[in-house]
């Protein structure tokens, strides 16, 4: 049961960190509870489907289907997170304002909810499918269902703790800079996802140039460690980044930051 709990904790940790940041940053979207629930429920179902299709996905696209699939999910999630942070800036959504106060039309107002649900769904797919596959393997090996469920529940609880702590910590920041802080975290989250996507595309053999690691900072902080994997998820920390990953990361940050800055100047004029 313990080994199951440990693996599930690691997978859930990644999901909960992303959710913690995204949910804290979008706190001003009132009435989002059912969209979050829909995203989570869809994520569970989606994970099961991806797990069942794992073999077929792997064999696709010259045997690189899994890498392409993962890269695509990451890029889509990054794009949607970038959209969210830009949308919120455009509609002057500081964390305390209500949607209605800003006078946003109803149709315009629903789009960020759809996006939030999809971001949650996408974030759950990869790790969620691994949890499903792990569970299937464990059951086939003869471990009792109760043992599996116990291990999974412990893992989910433990993994969620960090995300919950992140969320509570972020929403308690009582300075006028809280919006900038959560927005910055969303930007780095998206950039990290793009960097990860590049890694998968490199594994698929699609991106060749600038694919040698530039340095190895494992001696400082290993991606293996708890802090290292948390940073890997939150800001895309990589102990051995390639030139292409670095370029993509910086490019994403610059692109989103420029768009945000332009939103700011337009609003003020």
């Amino acid at each position: 049961m313990l080994s199951i709990a440990i693996i599930v904790t690691r997978e859930v940790l990644e999901i909960s960190l992303i959710l913690g940041v995204v949910l804290a940053a979008t706190r001003s979207l009132r009435g989002r509870a059912r969209w979050i629930a829909a995203g989570l429920a869809g994520g569970v179902i989606g994970s099961a489907i991806v797990a069942m299709a794992a073999g077929a996905i792997s064999d696709a696209i010259g045997g690189m289907g899994q890498e392409i699939f993962n890269a695509t999910i990451l890029l889509m999630a990054a794009a949607l997170i970038a959209w969210t942070v830009i949308w919120m800036k455009r509609h002057c959504m500081s964390v305390s304002k209500r949607l209605r106060e800003v006078g946003v039309a109803v149709t315009e107002g629903r789009r960020p909810f759809y996006v939030l649900a999809v971001v949650i769904w996408l974030s759950m797919l990869r790790e969620g499918s691994e949890i499903v596959l792990l569970s299937y393997g464990v059951l086939v090996s003869g471990v009792s269902v109760s043992s599996l469920v116990a291990g999974a529940l412990v893992g989910i609880a433990a993994g969620s703790l960090v995300g919950v702590a992140m969320y509570l910590g972020l929403v308690r920041i009582v300075t006028r800079h809280v919006f900038s802080i959560t927005s910055a975290m969303l930007v780095f989250l998206a950039a990290g996802m793009v960097s990860q996507a590049i890694e998968f595309l490199g594994a698929a053999g699609i991106v060749g140039p600038m694919s040698s690691p530039l340095w190895d900072s494992s001696f400082l902080l290993s991606e293996h460690s708890v802090a290292g994997s948390a940073l890997h998820t939150l800001i895309g920390y990589s102990a051995q980044p390639t030139g292409l990953q670095l370029a993509a990361y910086v490019g994403t940050v610059v692109l989103i930051a420029l768009t945000l800055w332009r939103q700011g100047t337009v609003a003020r004029s």
């Binding site: 080994s3 693996i7 794992a54 073999g55 792997s58 064999d59 696209i61 010259g62 045997g63 690189m64 899994q66 890498e67 392409i68 695509t72 794009a79 499918s129 691994e130 596959l133 792990l134 299937y136 393997g137 464990v138 086939v140 090996s141 890694e199 490199g202 594994a203 698929a204 053999g205 699609i206 040698s212 494992s218 290993s222 991606e223 293996h224 102990a239 051995q240």
Partner: protein
Amino acid sequence: MDHAATRRRLFLALVASLAIAQVAAAENPDGRKRGKYVIEILNHRFVPAELEVPAGKKIKLRIINRDATPEEFESYPLNREKVVAGKRRITVFIGPLKPGRYPFFGEFHPKTAQGVIVVK
């Protein structure tokens, strides 16, 4: 922001990427000859646990899962993570690599599934 145009562009990018992927996957790395770089998973262990490959070349690794349960081939120094379903096989491209030892493990059974790629 023109959402329709953005969606079109994203879709085209996705299609283009898939096309490039097919072409890229057809490239001929070392190890394409059958059975050259093969690692099997048996009873949640990698066999062989140590595999020697040449430095400076793109290598095609075949991972064959002889177990009925899935495993995830993962390696931090190689920057690879890939699930292999039970009784299935996957391909993992690695390299070009500098000489050294590159450990990998099976995330679903980390205690027993341990191995290393030795690059000479």
